[in-house]
């Protein structure tokens, strides 16, 4: 009896002690690991993140260099989410992505406005507007009902990139991408704005006014092309790699692919005057309908339209920026390095400018059908 009585509390105390010690140790451990300090700083960091504007932009464009002016004013960089495909971006915005500023092509603005995801932009709050090329101050679709819905940031061309050592052709033409001599070594843009538009040019159809008959004609051209293709892609990195290795010898691409390959010393050419016409486009920014940080949204737009951003955009990303002063302050050598002429604006003026397609739903469906066909 006595032994039991003494041993029982003894054991209990020992157990209790062990538990107590371990808990104390645990707290000490937490303290030494700095968890408590980290936990204390958490609310602060969340608050900080909430203050910054939320930018929804295409992958490859979200560089800090474009946010310099914004960061100076707001003490931090924007929160950035990336999209890879404009239709996917629209889908996410429609299902409630809480972004403030969105990047898109001018050809998409109308559609985005119809979907009710963007709000008009106040031109009076755009501090760098007068520095822009006059030609991009007014492009199709950016204004509607007397209001401005989109502002330009950059523009560029879509044409045919080819390996000068692996293909030959008589005249510059989109038909190179239908040339059976290069079956299995061609690639096409995986979107309607560039891919279907290029096929329409090849089929001698105006890409922006297609009716059912024209859509059928373009579909036939794309079905004819499909067996010759190695891939449909919008990924310029995948395309550059495939072209550098010779896996692909010709592809529809924007001039950044050309610039990337040229920089690597790959023998490539870029058709500046395909006989059916070169595609030109402008990319820019919109403000979400329910933007919570409107002031910062304008700060960000101004920052991305600024001369500093423009110099970075043009010389590093490889597309001409909308800011004419930025373009003017780059040297000929810097422009040559990314394959841009001094009078870049004549390019935009000569080409077929990408705008909203008629019957866009049917066009999109047609393209999906082509890709799904056997």
């Amino acid at each position: 009896m006595t032994t039991k009585e003494t041993s029982m509390p003894n054991g209990l105390t020992r157990e209790g002690l062990r538990a107590g010690v371990s808990r104390r140790n645990f707290n000490k451990l937490l303290a030494t690991m700095g968890v408590s300090t980290a936990a204390a700083s958490l609310p602060g960091r969340f608050a900080y993140a909430a203050e910054q504007v939320y930018l929804y932009i295409m992958g490859g464009y979200a560089d800090k260099a474009l946010f310099k002016e914004y960061a100076e004013k707001n003490g931090g960089n924007p929160t950035v989410a990336l999209w890879a495909d404009e239709e996917e971006a629209l889908l996410k915005l429609r299902s409630g992505l809480a972004s403030d500023v969105n990047f898109c092509g001018s050809y998409s603005v109308d559609r985005w406005r119809d979907a009710g995801v963007i709000q008009p932009i106040d031109p009076a709050r755009l501090t760098h507007w007068n520095e822009l090329f006059s030609g991009v101050q007014k492009v199709p679709d950016m204004e509607r009902d007397g209001k401005l819905w989109w502002v330009p940031v950059g523009f560029g061309t879509t044409s045919i990139v080819y390996r000068t050592d692996l293909v030959d052709f008589k005249e510059e033409s989109w038909s190179l991408l239908w040339d059976e001599r290069y079956a299995g070594r061609l690639a096409m843009y995986d979107n309607t704005a560039d891919g279907v538009a290029a096929a329409a040019l090849y089929a001698s159809v105006n890409p922006y006014t297609m009716d059912d008959a024209a859509i059928a004609k373009v579909k036939a051209a794309m079905l004819k092309q499909k067996p010759l293709l190695r891939m449909y892609t919008t990924d310029s990195t995948v395309l550059s790699q495939a072209m550098a290795s010779g896996e692909i010898v010709a592809a529809s691409a924007a001039n950044d692919v050309y610039a990337q390959l040229k920089a690597q010393g790959v023998p490539v050419g870029y058709m500046l005057a395909p006989k059916e016409g070169i595609l030109t486009w402008a990319m820019g920014l919109t403000i979400s309908k329910d933007a919570k940080r409107l002031d910062q949204a304008y700060d960000l737009i101004n920052s991305m339209m600024s001369k500093d951003s423009g110099m970075f955009w043009t010389s590093k990303i490889g597309y001409p920026h909308a800011n004419e002063q930025a373009y003017a302050s780059l040297s000929d050598e810097e422009l040559m390095a990314v394959g841009l002429p001094r009078d870049v604006f004549s390019l935009l003026a000569k080409g077929v400018f990408e705008s909203r397609m008629a019957n866009e739903d049917r066009v999109a469906k047609m393209f999906e059908e082509v890709k799904a066909s056997l």
Partner: protein, 291 residues
């Protein structure tokens, strides 16, 4: 002493599974019913026309005179079936080895099997791109050995590449259930068959294979069901000719902007997968009855 209140067994049973049922009802049944409802509606620009119609289903069977959806569904079932077969052929020997060949520290082998799963699925697909690529591992080794003088183009961006990638990516899902069912086999049965003079092949055929059937069938279903609807793999290694029904559903929801058609396609896919998958399940039940 207070009498312990008697809770009826069935009530206690339901109380225990209530959270699971609630979860399934909210996150499985409701979305499924919504998908079914959606499939009878029509997309109208950015809005939905809710008057019920069978149009989406007739489109699935016959799209402007061509059975494009059915063909893709068939291709997806075929790719998944071949991939599943490949997985089983690869997984069975591995599981057999761990169950019967490894005597000590089996857990190390199990962990080794799961190691590829510590990296993301996307990374595994990308590594297959590197292996099968134009100047990838296979092509450059064959060129270095002077077996070929220019890279083989048919090994990437086609249905074969999708099948190969799927077969590798899902192997661990098959090894584990097969291993468990092999591990459970009563070793005295094997000893008895040896004593009675059965050959090793006969032993495998008469004892091991039938007794491990439940695990093998489970493995086949684990691989077959999710791969039919896969769209990431065909997107990355399938090229223009390797797309599957999952890609169509995804593009209908995204670029195609036709959610009701996507819902109809998803339901048809679900039904056909269920149809194909119940075959093995019925087979397993039949085998269990025979034992």
């Amino acid at each position: 002493m207070k009498p312990i209140p008697i809770i009826r067994d069935w009530l206690r049973g339901y109380a225990l599974i209530a959270p699971a049922i609630l979860f399934a009802a909210v996150f499985l049944c409701v979305p499924l019913l919504l998908t079914v409802a959606l499939s009878f509606w029509t997309q109208n620009g950015f809005s939905l026309d809710m008057s019920p119609t069978l149009k989406n289903y007739t489109t699935f069977i016959d799209y402007q005179g061509s059975p494009i959806y059915l063909t893709l569904l068939w291709r997806s079932l075929l790719i998944s079936a071949i991939a599943t077969l490949g997985v089983l052929l690869l997984a069975y020997p591995a599981a057999y080895f761990i169950a019967f060949g490894v005597k000590k520290r089996k857990y190390i082998w199990i962990i080794l099997i799961t190691i590829p799963f510590w990296t993301s699925y996307l990374l595994r697909i990308f590594s297959w791109k590197i292996i099968l690529g134009y100047n990838g591992v296979i092509n450059s080794s064959l060129m270095q050995l002077h077996i070929i003088d220019k890279p083989l183009e048919f090994i990437l961006y086609n249905p074969t590449a999708v099948t190969v990638t799927l077969a590798h990516a899902w192997a661990a899902y098959a090894i584990l259930p097969i291993y468990v069912s092999l591990e459970k086999i009563d070793r005295s049965l094997l000893e008895a068959s040896i004593d009675l003079g059965d050959s090793p092949a006969g032993r495998l055929w008469r004892i091991v294979l039938p007794l491990s059937m439940p695990g093998t069938i489970a493995a086949a279903l684990f691989v077959f069901i999710p791969t039919v609807g896969d769209y990431v793999t065909p997107n990355l290694v399938g090229g223009p000719s390797g797309i599957m029904i999952g890609n169509i559903i995804q593009s209908l929801l995204g670029k195609g902007n036709d959610a009701p058609m996507a819902a109809a396609a998803a339901i048809c896919t679900m039904l056909s997968v269920a149809f194909v998958a119940t075959g093995p399940v019925l087979l397993a039940r039949l085998l269990r009855k025979h034992r």
